[in-house]
């Protein structure tokens, strides 16, 4: 029997997924050991080995692969634990990281501090040099000044160096030369060059990427090497990979070389988990919204044709992460989100969270403000004695008290109604997040399947679907460990990019094709290194394109790996069509500009599950374990809600709402007018009733 293992090492929990013999999937959850990720992983491995009745060595020797998602890079940034990093920039532009891009989110919010630059100004030094927009040298690089700068940085004890010059994307010679001088003058010091880390226009995003990358190098290298040696020391000789911000897996060496790719590792696995799980349930078409609702946050991504778009606008703490990452939108809305009334009596929920300590009032750990979890308990959607694998008995009276005092009495409603209201507000916040991301992508969510992940998701996902007009909701068995599942099944993948400005009226075929050749060579070399066989490889090209005069590009995929005049025509037509899809207008006949060429080099998705047909409809009666006195608004108030044990439900069981399905780490709600069916993979597929379409009087 062989095993494949995946772990999502988060801040609080480590989620693990084990595939046995390429088929059966087991899921585990364990606490993360703060400060030492290797210990956390090894503890998890020990737990799994024990549950299989094996010692660690035997278990690890049978593991053919270990895929890992980790927050080490993200947390280093959020907690300011990066290396002391110097930045070399073009003279006259020391403040690029301070200026950022403007565009304050709420200009009325006056009383706040301006965020500090990622690298302080005192470690930022300009060198005389300048390249112009066409790549011409306006001021040659002053190498003596570079050396002087390096000795200054050495005296200031920097541990890494970032280099980012204006227009290095068009002419990287100065950045490359500075790299050579660094290697000669300060051999061994880690450094990153802007045009290599993030070869895209806009100096702030590129400089920040170089700064982040350099600043993470010492730490990431140490941690990854540690994980490698601890695993091999424990007997693991299989393939170790890490999931990156692009949602693909890559080798430890690639991650050490480009540690910025490790940012957002972990959550980037969820979207493909959503897609893959939906696909294995036979859900078509591939329009999927993957959500993940935990204790403090709610995350959502949108996938069309099973593909999840990348974007460059993720915020990492205060910093804009300009490198393409799987587009996952995150808001502060989870089970621990706190409900409160403002001075005008309007209710709000979150983003403040009670966290795990003190946690919701019902945890009995000193929490005294009402949370979403308290509301779910009060409205009868959570059972006090089966919460979180029965690790915690919930205090209903405490939850009722805080909701009554803080919400129900001031609003003159009864406590159940107030609990319903708290949940509605949380759901509206999540609907907002979903609308933001679907609006941005120009898609209509009504035709999507909503996949629910996270411990807190199953109680709210149907209400969210109803508000968005979505009919199909899937709560997979792996809902509690969605990201880890995505990490396990993720493809090996690396993104390559190159800037080259040209436009449709004077297209530079020669340079573009030379560049595509280079991208292809880089991509194939990566796939060779990763041992991906030729027949399972995939090269996906795309280009950043815009109308002349626009400054925001859209990502336009294309199939050809060389472009001729026919290929260009197709490319331009596809741009018009995509622009129309996103923004409802096209400007046929207008010049289209191309700025950056990208390649995703991918291996196959590991072990796609095959759907086994269920043999007809089953009666769930045998799995009925009791009733809960619930309060459901659509039913006009109090209702006895049947509760089923999810582990005892047979494939094909049909559950008519209202009903609750108790799973080991989650509870799922089937609303009154909907029905759920247990799928072949053990998930719960809920079908919402058809809603009246809104006719417009245009």
């Amino acid at each position: 029997m062989t095993y494949e293992l995946a772990a999502d090492v988060g801040g609080t929990f480590t989620d693990l997924v084990l595939r046995v013999g390429g088929r059966e999937v087991n899921i585990y959850k364990t606490s993360t050991t703060p400060g030492n990720i290797s210990n956390g992983i090894l503890n998890g491995i020990e737990m799994i080995a024990t549950s299989l009745g094996l010692d660690i060595k035997t278990f690890l020797r049978r593991c053919t692969s270990f895929a890992c998602g980790t927050t080490i890079a993200t947390n280093a940034i959020l907690e300011n634990r990066q290396a002391k990093t110097g930045l070399i920039c073009s003279e006259g532009f020391r403040d690029t990281l301070l200026i950022r891009e403007g565009g304050k989110a709420d200009s009325y919010d006056f009383y706040m501090d301006y965020p500090a630059p990622y690298i302080p100004r005192c470690l930022t030094i300009g060198v005389p040099e300048r390249i112009n927009a066409e790549g011409g040298v306006e001021i040659p690089l002053n190498e003596a000044a570079v050396k002087k700068t390096l000795s200054e940085l050495r005296e200031k004890n920097v541990e890494a160096i970032a280099v980012s010059l204006l227009w290095s994307i068009v002419n990287p010679s100065h950045e490359k030369r500075i790299g050579e001088i660094i290697e000669a003058e300060m051999p061994g010091i880690p450094y990153s060059l802007g045009h290599q880390v993030n070869p895209s226009i806009r100096e702030y995003r590129r400089t920040l990427a170089a700064a982040i990358d350099a600043s993470l190098k010492p730490l990431v290298q140490a941690r990854i090497e540690e994980i490698k040696s601890r695993l091999s020391g424990a007997g693991f000789s299989g393939e170790l990979t890490f999931i990156t911000s692009s949602g693909g897996r890559t080798s430890p060496d690639e991650v050490i070389e480009r540690p910025i790719s490790l940012c957002l590792s972990g959550p980037s696995g969820a979207p493909q988990a959503g897609c893959r799980l939906a696909r294995s349930e036979g859900i078509v078409p591939g329009s999927i919204l993957t959500t993940d609702m935990g204790g403090t946050s709610f995350e959502v991504s949108v996938s069309v044709d099973w593909k999840t778009p990348m974007h460059r606008e993720v915020m990492l703490g205060n910093h804009l992460f300009g490198v393409p990452a799987v587009e996952v939108k995150s808001i502060g809305s989870g089970g621990g989100s706190i409900a409160y009334l403002d001075a005008g009596g309007f209710i709000h929920v979150g983003p403040e969270s009670a966290g795990a300590i003190p946690g919701p009032a019902c945890y009995g750990r000193g929490g005294n403000r009402p949370t979403v979890t308290d509301a779910n308990l009060v409205r009868g959607f959570l059972l006090p004695d089966t919460f979180a694998s029965k690790q915690l008995v919930l205090d209903v009276a405490a939850a009722e008290r805080v909701i009554r005092e803080e919400i129900a009495e001031p609003l003159r409603m009864d406590v159940q109604e107030a609990a319903n209201l708290i949940c509605l507000v949380a759901e509206q916040n999540m609907v907002s997040a979903i609308q933001d991301i679907t609006i941005k992508r120009g898609v209509d969510p009504r035709n999507f399947t909503l996949v629910s992940g996270g411990a807190a998701g199953g109680l709210h996902v149907s209400a969210i679907a109803r508000e968005l007009g979505i009919r199909n909701v899937l709560i997979p068995r792996a809902a509690g460990v969605l990201s880890a599942y995505g990490i396990m099944t993720g493809a090996k993948k690396m993104s390559f990019a190159h800037s080259l400005f040209t436009h449709s009226e004077a297209f530079n075929f020669k340079s573009v094709n030379a560049l595509l050749d280079k991208l292809r060579a880089d991509g194939l070399a990566f796939l060779d290194r990763m041992g991906v066989s030729r027949e399972t490889r995939e090269l996906k090209f795309s280009v950043e394109a815009r109308y002349a005069g626009q400054v925001w590009q859209i990502t336009l995929p294309f199939a050809a790996d060389r472009l001729d005049s026919g290929g260009l025509e197709t490319l331009v037509e596809n741009f018009h069509a995509l622009h129309e899809t996103y923004y409802a207008v096209r400007s046929t006949g207008e010049r289209v500009e191309f700025t950056e060429w990208n390649l995703d080099a991918m291996g196959p998705v590991s072990g796609e599950e095959r759907r086994t047909e269920s043999d007809g409809e089953k009666d769930p009666a045998a799995a009925l374990i009791g009733h809960s006195e619930g309060d459901i608004r659509e039913c006009g108030g109090k209702v006895r809600i049947p509760v089923y044990d999810g582990m005892r439900l047979e494939v094909g069981a049909r559950i008519n709402g209202p009903a609750l399905v108790q799973e080991p780490v989650t509870v799922n709600f089937v609303p009154p007018d909907a029905s759920g069916r247990v799928t072949a993979q053990g998930g719960l597929l809920i079908t919402m009733p058809v809603q009246k379409q809104i006719e417009l009087a245009v």
Partner: protein, 607 residues
């Protein structure tokens, strides 16, 4: 959830529906903004995001103006009011009206505002509004700001609330007139389509909401929401001290009428018991023969915004809250409502940028801890409108406003100025142009963009620094126009805080000699000639001798403040071990006592 309110009595919208409808309407506005942002063509739209979207109901009430530029959206209700006044019942489905006239409720002529009445069952129920700042509106000179315009006839094309679409089809004559008057007609049409797309997006969104919930219920929601906003505003006003404060400041004069500077006067009167704040602007000078007169829209928006920032971010920015602010203004006053044919093309920038801080600083006088100092004034030369022909693109014409180095936020209690605050019409909302995008779009090379040491006004809480910026022409004949301010009267400090640095505009010849330019400049610079901008820093808040010495050490470390100023102005004794500056707290205490003892020597003497 769709029919949650079905169980409730008909005359009140319950909290469940309130929550849902508030989110729905905000989602519609966000959708409008996203449409405009991603499709706009000119730099001020798609890089600076100099545009705003909103909806009002048929009684011109707004629900949320949280998402636009403060100066754009504070009084956006004037736009549909102008339509109702001018067209009455002659509004039909598929209509869209264009307005850039300060005499018809618009902000200034550079803001191109489209507004469509939203119909349901043959009745106007809402208005969808999108306002975008265009790169050009057909001025005699290539700009949208005419600070020296003597009257409206020097301010280019006027669109006094005219129908630009009928039955969802362009009124071609109006488009033709626009394209005949506006430089870069193709860019204009692209921006028009983007703005129109936003309006139509809003129209569909509001119709969907009304279909689903019923017009009566949506209307009832709006009424209740205004009550809620009113309650929030009153609650916030009740926390303020009662009192009346008058402030006067001077503004750089470019008219012989006011050789000592243009006086600006504001009185605020806070009545916590009534929950009302009065902003009295009556005692101001007559309309000036300049383009800096305020429009009614910018005057009102500026007062609302300034007061609401004092009331805090939780108060909804909607009509119900605005109604707790009484504005007394005079027709024919520069700070008031313009009297035809006064020029107002700079109504969103120059005097607006002084009026907002004056209102806020009056609160600082009322009680230290409230309000703020003054942020940057005018647009620094690094925000010039540049135009010319681009040799790199076969002489293609270009015109764009660059938004660069628009910094200098005012100090306020507990916080140094927001670095990219810009003027009070933006308050940080504008996006800063990328150097590379600027250089790709124009044959201009940016030679420097860095903060100016010691430019932020010193205070317990400092003003943010101003920008040192140089543009070099890469071809002959590039024209730079701008409307700077803050040279004679730089951004003021309050509560003992010092003024920010003065703004300077210069040009540099090929020989390297620099020449000062006037605030309102219009200059053609040939290849290798340069425009040099030194932007104002924001004013400081509170006495600099009260500033935390550790913050001063950090400012010196980071090169924001010179060691000399740290000592002389902040009274901080620094020690430097290797590269790191530390404040010597004991020695600082002694130095500060010495400096204080020599009062009344004005602190500025030390700068």
């Amino acid at each position: 959830m769709n029919d949650v309110a079905g169980t409730v009595e008909h005359d009140e919208v319950d909290m469940f529906t309130m929550v849902v409808l508030r989110r729905r309407i905000e989602a519609v506005i966000r959708n409008m903004i996203n449409t405009l942002f991603r499709t706009g063509r000119s730099g001020v739209l798609n890089t600076a995001m100099d545009f705003s979207c909103s909806v009002t109901d048929s009684e011109f009430r707004t629900v949320s103006t949280a998402l636009g530029l403060p100066v754009h959206v504070g009084a956006i209700d004037l736009i549909p009011k102008a339509i109702a006044k001018k067209f009455g019942d002659d509004q039909h489905p598929g209509d869209c009206f264009a307005n850039n006239s300060a005499y018809h409720g618009n902000t200034h002529c550079g803001d191109f505002t489209l507004c469509a009445p939203v119909f349901l069952d043959g009745e106007v129920i809402f208005y969808a509004i999108a306002r975008a700042h265009l790169g050009d509106i057909g001025f005699p000179t290539p700009t949208t700001y005419g600070p020296l315009s003597r009257d409206i006839y020097e301010e280019g094309l006027k669109l006094p609330c005219v129908r630009i679409q009928r039955n969802y089809v362009d009124v071609q004559e109006v488009i033709d007139i626009c394209q005949a008057n506006i430089r870069a007609p193709n860019q204009f049409y692209g921006d028009y389509l983007a703005t129109l797309a936003a309006v139509r997006t809003g129209e569909i969104g509001m119709q969907q909401i009304c279909r689903q919930y019923g017009v009566a219920r949506v209307r009832k929601f709006l009424a209740q929401f205004q009550e809620y906003a009113k309650t929030m505003a009153i609650a916030a006003i009740r926390k303020l001290p009662a009192g009346r404060v008058t402030r006067e400041a001077r503004y750089d004069s470019e008219t012989d009428l006011y050789p000592e500077g243009i006086p600006i006067r504001v009185t605020i009167d806070v009545d916590p018991e009534e929950g009302m704040i009065t902003v009295d602007l009556m005692n101001n000078v007559d309309n000036l023969p300049l383009g800096i007169n305020l429009s009614e829209a910018t005057m009102r928006a500026t007062c609302y915004t300034a007061v609401l920032t004092v009331l805090g971010p939780d108060v909804p920015r909607s009509t119900g809250a605005y109604n707790r602010i009484r504005i007394l203004s005079r027709e024919g006053a520069a700070i008031g409502r313009p009297k035809f044919p006064a020029a107002t093309s700079c109504a969103t920038t120059n005097l607006t940028q002084l009026l907002g801080p004056m209102v806020r600083s009056a609160f600082a006088d009322l009680r230290k801890g409230l309000g703020s100092a003054c942020g940057t004034l005018g647009m620094p030369a690094s925000c010039a409108v540049v135009s010319g022909q681009d040799d790199r693109r076969n002489g293609e014409r270009f015109i764009n406003q660059i938004i660069m180095g628009f910094w200098g936020g005012p100090g306020l209690q507990g916080h140094d100025g927001w670095f990219t605050h810009g003027g009070s019409g933006s308050m940080g909302a504008l996006w800063q142009s990328s150097i590379e995008i600027v250089e790709q779009q124009q044959p201009v090379l940016v030679e420097a963009l860095e903060i100016i040491e010691d430019s932020g006004g010193a205070g317990e809480w400092c003003g943010a620094p101003g920008a040192y910026c140089i543009f070099r022409s890469r071809t002959d004949g590039i024209r730079y126009t701008g409307n700077a301010a803050g040279h004679d009267f730089p951004p003021f400090g309050v509560a003992g805080g010092l003024d920010g640095s003065q703004n300077d505009v210069l040009w540099e010849g090929r020989d390297g000699a620099r020449h000062t330019l006037a605030n309102s400049f219009d200059i053609i610079l040939n290849k290798d000639e340069k425009l040099v901008s030194k932007g104002s820093g924001g004013g400081g808040y509170g006495n600099p001798l009260d500033r935390n010495p550790d913050l001063v050490a950090r400012d010196v470390q980071e090169g924001w403040v010179s060691p000399a100023r740290a000592r002389q102005t902040f009274g901080v004794v620094l020690q430097c071990d290797g590269f790191k500056y530390h404040a010597d707290h004991a020695a600082t205490g002694r130095l500060r006592a010495d400096i204080s003892a020599r009062v009344p020597v004005p602190l500025k003497a030390y700068v």
